[in-house]
Subunit: 724 residues, 2 copies
C-alpha cells in the first residue's frame, strides 16, 4: 500500500455489504451518508443522518431519522438498468480518498443483453458548504445507442422499517438560463415535525443529449437525461443536491433555500476545489504522521476522518452519537463516549468543535436537572443516553433475544451515573487546555457546579462505617451491575466536588458577579459546600496497602477467572459465562481503575499505576469486552513501559471498524474507539502530558515506528511534536 | 332517507376523516380498501389489507401488512393538482351503494388559479373476480386547456410508520392492440417474504387524448394521460388494477398473472355488470328486510355488507379479524369474535364461508397443541389472538400510556381460555345446522375432541371441596382478571367435554375407522374419558337457590355499584373506577352468565334466564363496556319479553360504526358487533330457534316495526321467515 491516504476495495462482496457501507461513509459535520450504491441494491442500509434530526420511536424513545435519500442515480444502457445483481461485473473498484473526502467507484459491466460499459461514480458531501452534495457519473460505453441517467430525491426513507417522514410537497422549476429543471422535495418528520427540503439538478457535462424529462412521481421526484452512446466516447452527468432543514431556517424558507443553493453551483471543478481546500485545512491541524508502519498510518487517518466528518462545526445543539452518523446502532444517542473518548481530540486540535460539543451539554442542563429531580436528588444528572433534549433516552426494557414473552431490564439509564462527572471533567479539561476563561465563566463553571451538586445529594452517609457511599451503580465496566462504591464513580465524584469548590473560589476572584449569580441559582449555601467537603473527605474507597484499588465493594471476593485459558475465542466473557455468571467473576468488560488512573493520572504514583495495571490487565476482556477499552489500555501500557503490549491494544483499536473485528461494524463506526486511537497515539506513544507549567512529551514508540508527528493547540497556539 | 341501500355523506369533515374512511371501506373477501381518497390527503390511513398477508411486527408479533397502494389517481387542471386542501370545494358528495358494493364521490372544485371542474370518482373491488379493482374518473371542466390524469401503484405503504415491503421489480409492457402501456410493480414483505404483484392500465374512455407517458419511478410506477379540456365536455378515464400474491400462486408467476388479468378486462360496463350480479347473489340469501324503521333497515344492511366484504370465499387458511380488513385495530388478529359473533351469520346464510372459517381453526390445530404443551397441558388450546399460524399473538406487554418506563402486562393471551370451547361450539353448531357429516367426520370432530382434551387436562381437583376447578382465568367480562371458576368458562368446558363424549359415540357408529384413528392419535383412552366424565360431573358452579348463577367465585362479595347514577357519561366504568378499582366492583364489561345462557339456552328454564337477566342487566356497562355486548343483550331482552329494551341495545349495536359511538371507528369496523346485529334480528326479534325436530320462529318485534323478513339455510335448504 503506497498511498497512505486511501481506503480501497477491489471486489464487491455481498456478505460485507453493510460493513463496507459503514467504512465508505462520507460526511461534513452537518450530515453523513453511508457508502450505499447510487443505483441501490437489495438489503442495503442507505442512510443519511443529519445532526439533530431526531424523531420519536418505540422503545428507544427517539432516534436519528434516516433522511430522504439524495443518492438515487441510475444508469440505463439502451434501456437495461445497471445493477450489480444483473449481467456480469467484470471489474469493480472502490476508493475513499481520506485527504479530500471523496468516494469513487468504477465498474466494468456487461448487461444481460451483452452491452458493455465502464460506469464510474464519484461523490462528495461538501465540507466547504455542508448543504451541498455532489455525484458525478461517467459512462464509457462500448456500444452504440443511448444511455439514460435518472436522478431522484426519495422521501420514502425508513429506519429499518420505521418510517419517520411524511411528504409535504414537491415540484420543479425550469431555470431560464438552463436547459434542465431544478426539482425539489419537501418532507417533514411525523412526530417531531422537523422539515426537510432537498433540491436537485441533473447536468450533462459531456456527451450529446437526446432528451430530458421531469417525472413528478409522488415522493420521488425524478429527473432524467438521455444521451447518445458511441463506443469509447465517455459521457459525464452530474447530480447536484442541496439540503436544508427547519433546524437551519424557518420551515417556510427551506425549499427556496435549497433551490437557490443548488442553482448557485457553478460547476464540479469549482465545488470540488472548495471542498478539497476545506479538507486541507482540517488535515493541516489534525493529521498524525506515523512512519515505519503503513497499516497504522492509514488506519489512524481513517479513524481521524471518521471523527472529522461527524464533528459539528456550525451547530452547538448536537453531540456525536456512539456510532457517529454512520449507522443505525444506538439510534444516534450520545453517551460518555463523546466527552471521554472523542472530545480530547477536538479539545487539542479543534477547540471550536470541542466547545460546540460542550455547549450541547450546557444547553441540556434543564433535562439533566429534571432527571436528578425525578430521582429525588438535586443538581444536574446527565442522561446515560442523550438525544435532542437531554432527557434520558436509554431504553428501559428490551425484548429478550431468545424468548419473545420476556423483557430484559436495561439499568444503565437508571444507575450508570458516572457520566455526570465525565461531562464536568471534559468541560474542565477544555478550559485548562484552551484557557478559554470567557466560556468557562459563562457556561463551563455551571456544568462543574451543578454536577457537583448532584454528587453532593446522591452521596449516602453510612453511620456505622462512618463514610459516604455511592451505592447501586454501574461503573464503566458493565459486566458488573448494581455494585456499591465503584472506585471510578466514587473518585470521579470526589474530583467533581473538589473541582467545583476550586471553580467557585476561582470565580469569586475572577468573575464575582457570576459567582454570586450561580451561588444564588444553584443554592450553593455554606452548608451545602460544607457537605461537599465532608463527602470529599469521607467518600469510601478501598485501597490495599500495595496501592491496589478495589474496583467496587466486594470485587476481590468475586470468583477469579483466568481469561487466557479461554483463548482462542470469538465471544465475550459475558457470553461465555452468561450475564449472571460473569457478574460473579472478576472478569472485566473494561478496567475501571485503570480508566480512573488515566483520567486523574497526577493523583497516582507510577508504582500505584503499575500495581493496578498488573492486577487488572489480565482480568480484562480485551478482545470482546468493551470497544472503548483498547485505546486506553494502550496508553496505560505505555505508562508502565510496555510500548509493544501497548501496540497490540492500539492496533486492535484502529482496526475495530476497518477489519470489522467485532462483526458489528455494519451498525456504524465505533466512535469512542476511533476517538481513543488519537489519545493512544498522542498520550500513549507520544507521551504528551500537560501541567500548569506547560506541556512535555515523553515518547515511547513501538520498536518498528520510525517517526511520529502530530499537532495540537495549547492555550490558543498550535504546537507540533515530531519524534523521529 | 328514501334509498335504503345507500350510505351518503354531503360534506367532507377533516375531523371525521378516519371514521369515514372506515365506513366507506370496499372489499370482496380477498382484500379490503378503506375509503381514503384516490388523490391522497395528509394524515389519511390509506390501507388495503389482503387476507393472510401478515408480516412480523414488534410487540404485536405479526400484523396484516398494509399492501402496496393501488388507489393513487390524481387529476391536474392545466397543471394544477386537484386536492381537497387547495382551492375551493364548492360541493362534495360521497355515496356507498351497499347493493352493488360501489363507492362514488363527486366534487365541484375551483382551483387556486380559478379553474372550475366537477371531478367524480367511482370505484369497486370486483366480487366477480376478486383480483380485479377498478376506478373511473370523470372530469367535467368549465375551462379550456388540458386535464392530466396520473395513476400509480405505490409500494411505499406502511402500517402507521412500520414499513413491511421491499420492492422487487417493476416495469411496463406496451400492448400491441392498445395505445397505452400496462405497468406492473412487484414487492415482497420484509420478514414473511410474501410476494405481491400489481398490474395497472390507464384507459381513456371519453375525451381527446393529447399525450400519454410511463414514468418508471422507483417503487411508484406511474401512467399519465393528458386530455384536451373544453368547457362542458366530460372526460372519462379508467384505472384498472389486478393484484396477486404468492399466497395465490408461486411467486414467479404473480407478475404475469396480474398483467394477464388486467389485460383481459374488456371494459367498465362489463366488469361492473359481473360485479353487480355477484353482489345480487349475495344479497339474495343475506338481506334482512325491516319495514317501519328506515334507520334500522339501512344500518342492518351496512353491518351485513361489512361482514360480506370481509368473508373469505376462496380461502380456508384465514379468519376474519376483530376489525375485519378495514383498519389497523387489533392488527388483523382473530379472536373468539369470529366464532361466536360472526360465524352464525355465515353458518345460517352462507355455510360455504362458515366452513372456510372453521377450516382455518382446523389447519391451526398444530399451533393450538403447541400452546397447550407450552402451558404444561394437553390437547388444543387455541390462541386468544390468532393470525396466520395459530400461534398465540396477543401482545405480552404494552407500554403504559402515561409512564413510558412502565409496561402493562396483557394477560388475555395467557388465561382467557374460553376461546377453545367457543371454537368447538361453533364447529358443532355448524354441523348441527348444516348436517354436513362429511366435514364433521373429517375435521369438526377433531376440533371438538382435542379442545375437550385441553379442558380435561386444565381442570384442577380441589380435594378439600371435592370439585374440579378452572382457576386463574379471564372470562368474556374482561373487567375482572385472574378469577377462579368463571361460570362461562366452566360451563362451556363442561359442554365441550360432554359434546366430545357424544361426538366420539356418534363417530363410533357412523365412522368407526375415523373414531379409532382419532382415539389413537389423541390418546382418548378409557381412563382419559373417565376423567372427562368426572370433570363434567364435578366441575364447580355456584348457583343460588333462585337460579342466579355467580359469575365467578366471590363475585357476589365484590362491591355492588349502581351504574345508573354515573349517567350521563362518556367513559367506561373501568376508566371511571380505574383498572384495579373496577376489578373490585360487580360492574361488568359484558355479562358472562347471559352470554352463557344465550349459547346454551336449552339448558336453562325461562325463569332461570329471567332471574339472571334481572341481576346482571343493571350491572353491565352497556354503553362503554364491550362492543360485543349490545347485540346479545338485545336477544336476551327479547327472551325475557322486553322487545323495546331489546331495541335500545340493538340500535346501539347497529350504530356502533355508522355513528362512531365509541370514538374509535377509525381503527376499523367493530366486526363482532356487526355480526351480532344479525343474531339480534334473527334470534332476538325473529325468535328463531333450532331443535333436532326442525326450526320455529317466535317473533317479538319492536312496536314500530311493520315487517321483518330474512332467510337462512337449514340442512342445505333455504328457508324464509317473513313476519308482517
Amino acid at each position: 500500500m503506497t498511498d497512505l491516504w486511501t481506503i480501497t476495495e477491489d471486489a464487491f462482496e455481498a456478505a460485507k455489504q453493510h460493513h463496507q457501507e459503514t467504512i465508505f461513509t462520507l460526511g461534513n459535520g452537518y450530515l453523513s451518508t453511508r457508502g450505499a450504491f447510487e443505483e441501490g441494491r437489495p438489503g442495503d442500509r442507505r442512510t443519511t443522518f443529519i445532526h439533530g434530526v431526531f424523531d420519536a420511536a418505540p422503545i428507544v424513545f427517539t432516534e436519528l431519522a434516516n433522511a430522504p435519500d439524495w443518492l438515487p442515480f441510475t444508469v440505463h444502457l439502451n434501456g437495461e438498468r445497471f445493477s450489480l445483481d444483473a449481467g456480469v461485473v467484470e471489474s469493480f473498484t472502490r476508493a475513499l480518498d481520506l485527504r479530500t473526502g471523496t468516494l469513487s467507484r468504477a465498474v466494468r459491466w456487461r448487461s444481460p443483453a451483452g452491452l458493455a460499459a465502464t460506469i464510474a461514480f464519484e461523490r462528495f458531501a461538501s465540507l466547504a458548504d455542508p448543504h451541498l452534495l455532489f455525484i458525478r457519473c461517467k459512462v464509457r460505453p462500448e456500444f452504440a445507442g443511448f444511455v439514460e441517467f435518472r436522478a431522484s430525491l426519495n422521501g420514502n426513507a425508513d429506519n429499518e422499517g420505521l418510517a419517520h417522514w411524511h411528504r409535504v410537497g414537491q415540484g420543479a422549476e425550469a431555470r431560464p438560463d438552463a436547459r434542465s429543471a431544478t426539482a425539489y422535495l419537501h418532507c417533514r418528520t411525523r412526530r417531531s415535525r422537523i422539515g426537510w427540503a432537498g433540491a436537485m439538478r441533473l447536468v450533462g457535462v459531456a456527451g450529446r443529449r437526446l432528451s430530458a424529462a421531469w417525472w413528478d412521481a409522488e415522493n420521488t421526484p425524478t429527473l432524467t437525461l438521455k444521451m447518445k452512446a458511441a463506443p469509447g466516447r465517455t459521457l459525464i452527468v452530474d447530480k447536484r443536491v442541496a439540503v436544508f432543514t427547519s433546524r437551519d431556517l424557518p420551515e417556510d424558507q427551506i425549499v427556496q433555500a435549497a433551490m437557490d443553493r443548488v442553482n448557485s453551483v457553478t460547476d464540479w471543478p469549482a465545488a470540488l476545489k472548495d471542498h478539497a481546500e476545506a479538507w486541507a485545512k482540517e488535515w493541516e491541524r489534525t493529521d498524525v504522521v506515523i512512519e515505519g508502519d503503513d497499516e497504522a498510518q492509514i488506519a489512524i487517518r481513517f479513524n481521524l476522518f471518521q471523527m472529522l466528518i461527524a464533528a459539528p462545526r456550525h451547530d452547538d445543539r448536537v453531540s456525536i452519537g456512539a456510532k457517529t452518523l454512520s449507522g443505525f446502532g444506538y439510534r444516534g444517542h450520545a453517551f460518555w463516549d463523546t466527552e471521554v473518548f472523542m472530545l480530547p481530540l477536538f479539545t487539542y486540535t479543534a477547540p471550536h468543535i470541542a466547545r460546540n460539543l460542550l455547549n450541547y451539554r450546557y444547553r441540556n442542563l434543564p433535562g439533566a436537572r429534571a432527571k436528578a429531580k425525578a430521582n429525588g436528588v438535586e443538581g444536574a444528572q446527565f442522561p446515560w443516553e442523550s438525544a435532542d433534549t437531554g432527557e434520558e433516552v436509554t431504553p428501559t426494557w428490551l425484548p429478550h433475544f431468545a424468548d419473545r414473552a420476556k423483557l430484559v431490564r436495561i439499568w444503565t439509564g437508571d444507575i450508570e451515573i458516572h457520566i455526570s462527572a465525565d461531562v464536568a471533567y471534559a468541560a474542565y479539561q477544555y478550559w485548562r487546555l484552551t484557557g478559554d476563561d470567557e466560556w468557562f465563566i459563562e457556561k463551563g463553571a455551571e456544568l462543574v457546579l451543578d454536577t457537583a451538586k448532584f454528587w453532593g445529594a446522591r452521596a449516602e452517609w453510612n453511620a456505622e462505617a462512618g463514610r459516604y457511599e455511592y451505592n447501586d451503580v454501574i461503573g464503566p465496566d458493565e459486566y458488573h451491575e448494581h455494585v456499591d462504591n465503584n472506585a471510578y464513580t466514587n473518585c470521579m465524584a470526589q474530583w467533581n466536588l473538589q473541582t467545583a469548590l476550586d471553580t467557585l473560589e476561582w470565580l469569586r476572584g475572577r468573575a464575582p458577579t457570576k459567582a454570586a449569580e450561580l451561588a444564588e441559582e444553584l443554592s450553593l449555601t455554606p452548608s451545602a459546600l460544607a457537605r461537599w467537603r465532608e463527602v470529599i473527605e469521607k467518600v469510601h474507597l478501598h485501597v490495599e496497602p500495595s496501592g491496589l484499588i478495589e474496583q467496587f465493594e466486594g470485587y476481590f471476593q468475586r470468583k477469579d477467572v483466568d481469561l487466557a485459558v479461554l483463548e482462542p475465542r470469538t465471544r465475550s466473557a459475558q457470553e461465555i459465562f452468561g450475564i449472571e455468571g460473569c457478574n460473579e467473576t472478576q472478569a472485566l468488560k473494561q478496567p475501571d481503575v485503570l480508566m480512573l488512573q488515566y483520567l486523574l493520572r497526577d493523583y497516582y504514583s507510577d508504582e500505584a499505576v503499575r500495581v493496578n495495571y498488573d492486577y487488572y490487565n489480565p482480568r480484562t476482556d480485551h478482545t470482546y469486552g468493551s470497544s472503548l477499552g483498547p485505546s486506553i489500555m494502550a496508553i496505560m501500557a505505555c505508562d508502565v513501559g510496555q510500548p509493544d503490549h501497548a501496540y497490540e491494544h492500539f492496533i486492535r483499536a484502529v482496526r475495530a471498524d476497518l477489519r470489522d473485528v467485532r462483526g458489528n461494524a455494519g451498525d456504524g463506526i465505533h466512535a469512542a474507539s476511533a476517538g481513543g486511537t488519537w489519545q493512544a497515539v498522542v498520550f500513549g506513544f507520544g507521551g504528551l502530558r500537560i501541567s500548569p507549567e506547560g506541556w512535555r512529551a515523553n515518547p515511547r514508540l513501538p520498536k518498528h515506528w520510525k517517526r511520529l508527528a502530530f499537532k495540537f493547540f495549547h492555550r490558543g497556539r498550535l504546537q507540533e511534536v515530531d519524534v523521529k
